[in-house]
Symmetry: D2
Subunit: 430 residues, 4 copies
């Protein structure tokens, strides 16, 4: 009974918050609001943070419904510009075609905690996007603005080590997405002098890393992940002499920045930073998972590649069948059998480099990221990750991608045209 009354009251309060928030948003876009916009934005942000999930649903619907450009006006101005390309016509058209939502977000950003709120808002929007496809244009506006504001020209690269604030380190532990960090002692090993951890920060979010990468300095390109994660692994005193820098983990911290390109810029900036600090470094590479391999192997019945001769295709199908049979007994156990491992490596090379027809997108998300960045597929390593997750995702196979700054433009272009840059060690497997 009392519970119902409380619920009614809460609902009423929420309706007030939502109504007030919408009023403030409208006011922000008016003439009258302009002179006081910082204060109004501040109030709007406060209200926003009080919304219940249901009120948030309605708020985003409203953003989608009310702040679109006026179709008639845009059409009229587009016609005028098509007739005469004078600056005035273009200026009027560009202005009219930009959804007023973007200006609304720019003004919201003026309030205290504005940037952090907009990033959080995007994260909440993304959770609704799948079930409310009508929000797609709203999301496009967020992505457009955030890409402009979180432009690499505005990001600050910062090294994180044992001198960093505990508050930051705690976030690193929380956000590590590739190879889980098991507490402070585990983290500590990854911050020793033969390791590096770099993160991008935005000046408006100084205590929140956006994305970070973990690097190990080694004498040669590694074939397995376990030694890198072992907290007992002895610290190399001679970090200055190492030849290889391995990017063994890269994690995003801000779901609200999905679609904003950060990883590509981070890796290249870190390569330059490391080259300055360690002039002996010759090789910059990754040790990366192949998350889609096991699924491909078990689900893709008979891959077809129009570029391949029938004999070659037949061989591939035979190999796949053999591998499936071997793995059938226990797909998460690693076979010590050399033949098996050799076969897995070969199939993985197929999977990553030519499994699909050139028009289809690269099926593996990690491969897509690095190849699109301009990296080269350098080596396939069987028995590289024997963790439960590693065996399940890729039967233990991991891959080295190589970043050679001289080649990344050409590699990227090749990738965009459906071709995978790969070292001879990989192509010879096929």
């Amino acid at each position: 009974m009392f519970e119902r009354i409380r619920q009614v009251r809460r609902n009423a309060r929420e309706r007030v918050d939502l109504t007030r928030l919408i009023e403030l948003c409208r006011q922000l876009l008016t003439e009258r609001g302009e002179s006081n916009s910082v204060a109004i934005a501040g109030h709007a942000i406060e209200r926003y943070h009080r919304l219940s999930p249901e009120a948030l649903d309605r708020f985003f619907e409203l953003l989608a419904g009310e702040f679109d450009p006026d179709p008639g006006e845009v059409l009229m101005l587009a016609e005028r510009y098509a007739v005469s390309r004078v600056p005035a016509n273009l200026i009027a058209l560009s202005r009219a075609a930009e959804p007023p939502r973007q200006e609304l977000l720019r003004r919201l950003n003026r309030g205290a905690q504005g940037t952090a709120t907009i990033v959080a808002m995007r994260a909440q929007l993304l959770q609704r996007l799948r079930r409310s496809p009508g929000l797609a244009a709203v999301d496009a506006d967020f992505e457009h603005l955030l890409s402009s504001w979180f432009n690499p020209g505005f990001l600050q690269l910062q090294r994180i080590d044992w001198q960093s604030p505990a508050q930051l380190l705690e976030q690193i532990i929380r956000h590590e997405a590739v190879h889980e960090i098991d507490g402070w002692n585990d983290l500590r090993r990854r911050l020793e002098p033969d390791r590096r951890l770099f993160a991008f920060f935005h000046p408006m979010l100084p205590s929140e890393p956006l994305i970070f990468v973990e690097v190990a300095l080694l004498p040669q390109m590694p074939r397995a992940i376990a030694p890198l994660l072992d907290r007992q692994d002895p610290v190399r005193a001679d970090a200055q002499k190492m030849k290889v820098a391995v990017f063994y983990s890269i994690s995003n911290c801000q779901p609200g920045l999905r679609g904003v390109n950060l990883g590509n810029f981070l890796i290249k900036r870190v390569v330059e930073q490391l080259r300055d600090e360690f002039p002996n470094l010759k090789t910059f590479c990754t040790l990366s998972p192949v998350p889609g391999f096991a699924h491909w192997l078990s689900h893709v019945a008979e891959p077809a590649d129009p570029r391949l001769k029938p004999a070659v295709l037949r061989e591939l199908h035979t190999e796949m069948a053999a591998a499936r049979e071997r793995l059938a007994f226990d797909p998460t156990a690693a076979s010590p059998d050399d033949v098996d491992q050799q076969r897995l490596a070969r199939l993985c090379a197929w999977y990553l480099s030519r499994s699909a027809d050139p028009q289809a997108p690269q099926p593996d998300p990690v491969a897509r990221f690095h190849l699109n960045n301009g990296a080269r597929l350098e080596r396939i390593n069987p028995l590289a990750d024997l963790s439960r997750k590693g065996l399940k995702q890729s039967h233990g196979v991991m891959v080295n991608y190589l970043y050679d700054l001289e080649e990344i433009e050409a590699n990227h272009e090749r990738f965009v045209n459906g071709e995978v840059s790969a070292a001879r060690a990989v192509t010879s497997l096929i």
Copy 2:
């Protein structure tokens, strides 16, 4: 002879720089360039800084010619959106209607010194805008982007005092535009504990103030500027007890940011900062020049204001004639005559508050700035600025504008509707 050869060589080199710069710009917008955009942007920026004034002319022409949206495509998408307002249509339209120049600038910003370069580029563009009106759409793109990037949500307020780096203080001396600073000792008085100097900074330009304001803490609203500028003026030890904060000078430092609203936000942020530091402050006001007054008085023959009764208008005309006659002998000398000064004050009140018809814009640029910010015209002070410049611009009259955060929204709205908010002390003059 040799000189000509050198000239030829220089011309050749410049042509190379320009050609290469344009290539780099095109490359930045291609797929291939994307993976390496930070490096390409860096090269483009280097080339840009080597351009001669003539090469710059051509570069801006090219920006205007080549990076416009495609009229046919925009028209087609506008039609499609007018027919069906689904998100996909809107997204496609917004993208197509945004001039590719904006994306070009966002990518240039990724290079080292990107932001500083773009601000400098805008300054050079503005110098060409008057004689090349065809650049207006290019300028609109710069202004649009810079307004987004120099959004007050991204600016940092910093106090500048005698502990600040000499390099910063030197810039303050150079950029002070209202009341010239005559060397380091003069500056020093303006940084003593009974004064404040605040500037906005952008995180990417940490050693360049964008705009700054000078504040004096006083027991009451000041009637004249000389004591504030006198470097012998004794420092008030009891700054904490002062009731009035006077904004006596505000100067922009970055010509490239013209049109980006900074002053409005700066004043309001400083008001809040001062309120925190000095809880005894009751009044926040300016002591401002009236740069258009003398010109108006001598040039505007017989102002007409449809809202006024003929008798009132006649009185105004009589007063103006009398004032002109008195000033005719030496327009830059201040009359000690009370009647004269009273008359000047009255005419200045007319000038600022109702000289024009409500549809016409406010003629005085300083009044326009403060009234549009939501300030109120509080007092007219004759004999307030007896410097050569003060006498010439406004026969020595200065004005206090009052910032009352409770009223600024209403004042601003009134101003937008052609009405000037003024204190009784001013309205009673008329």
Copy 3:
């Protein structure tokens, strides 16, 4: 066999290090060494850090033997000064009577890591002091110099919180000596906004806390320690309203600074700091262990206090006997019996305030520290620390000492004269 050869070689190398170190020390004190003392000190410090424990023994013996003042010279100068107190005689005498060791240490301090090395040296010296009483004068020189250099005028108070470097927090965990910190989560509760942790730092040892104190902000003086140590204890959002600041743990981090007064200064500086930050605070007190109580109760047969009447003494002896009998069953279990607890409180009041004759020193080290600082014994809390250690040391009793800055001079003087300042709540127990 090989082991023996290695041992012989190591011994030889050590002998070389020791011999060279002593040469460098002698050189530092010569004229020739003076012009290059920073470099020589640096070499000496390097050698020092290579010494084996045995070589250290010999090094300290040498410090004791070789760098004493010359008795004949001092005696001659003392006679001269006794005859004529002119400045020259005094200056000569003071110089001659100061052991040259002090100048040696001052010069060693010039080398890289000088201060840290001297503090570490003292720690190693102290470990040898008990078994080598001949080192007492060497130790007195260290203490004299370190007291001058770690003078509170040179120390910096720093708040430590979750924004502090992990490296510092790790040291806090390691050095907490009163109430053990069980890992990072446990530490975190002690750094929340309703807690404070302050440490003293020396400018030459910026990453090593010297001593730290943990403070809780509470509505009233606490009677038990468990809630303060419970990491689930809800964080008080209203820290600003709290009336009581409780110092619940104070720990030294540098054994080499034994005898250098730090705790007294730390507590008083923190009181001032907290008064500034929390104007509502009225009471500054501790919640302290009574480490010597249980031992006293079980070992001191029949305390005699000449100031007491025989009847009172008899009562005390009866009470002690009763308590012993009750505790005999299980000295580490807390009795829920009110009478027992009341009796323990009374006996603890006896123990701390008048157990001994006024000439004898205060037997409890914690009481000695706080009473000597000028605090007042404010309340005895039975059942306050039911941890194994708390029951064993003091049958669960803890004590509040009160710091009232107005009274500390008088309290300290009283304590020096053998009297304990205690609140009525304590004296009335007896």
Copy 4:
């Protein structure tokens, strides 16, 4: 009349301040004061800063009279120590022989602004020392303590440049004692990238430089000062390629630190710092004035040096007579005559290297400083300083001293033994 009353009142107030200060000093040394010493020291410091010059006189007298060691006690303990050198006897003796003034100063240092006050106190003491020789023992105590506290192990080297706070730069302008800095523009040239200015700071006086040195990076050892001081001197863009670092000015900022060795340590630390930053540097030298040369030439009738053969001495006397005659016309004009200049160089070499008998101290203070630091007299430069001051002090001659870290120990030892290390270029002049 009123003036007299005011005077009487002021005198009374001053007497109170002095009396109270002395009471506080006594209290600081008592048991009772110890527990509250930071507060008491703070009060004493406040009173101290209010003393009139006369009250200061009396305060220092009192410091001299009251805080001496007890002669009887010291004598007794010296006898005991002479009989038995056990640690206890030594500890007691050292304690008793140290003037209680030192402990007083250590306790004063605990108060706010303690260190700054003690340095200022010493400066005021030094002003009185000549006319009150009885204060010599007090001064010795200050020097002893300050030497311990301003030990190079506690000093921080800081580069000062155009990014430094104006407040610091202002002090540099004020304290430059060798080659006056004529305002901010003059200073600026000395901070350009081909120059360096380094200062020592003490952590307790973070905004007051203690001593600073100005360095120019040059292709070769300079022969004249004017180009270094010319603010139009073009900045060398290739500072990294320079071979020679010239220390062309060194100035003390704190008169209260007289006798505390700072310059020697500063120069050597700067040499190391420069070696790290500019690996191409081969030579570290000075361009120094010879302030006593002109006085020696005109006043020392016939220098005698027992080490010299009569013929050599005769030649010297002839040369001196000739020089005097040539200079008689206008001692502040530089002769363009090569013979004259050659003669001046030769005489200056005599003056600096062997003018006096080896037992007598080096007469030139600048030479004394550098030679005692272990530098070598490298070259005599006639016509090197044609400023009024330069001509008057040394007929325009300046000198290069060379700092070769490999040789400074040997050079210093030689100097202490009465010998001057000089390059062949100098010795060959004689």
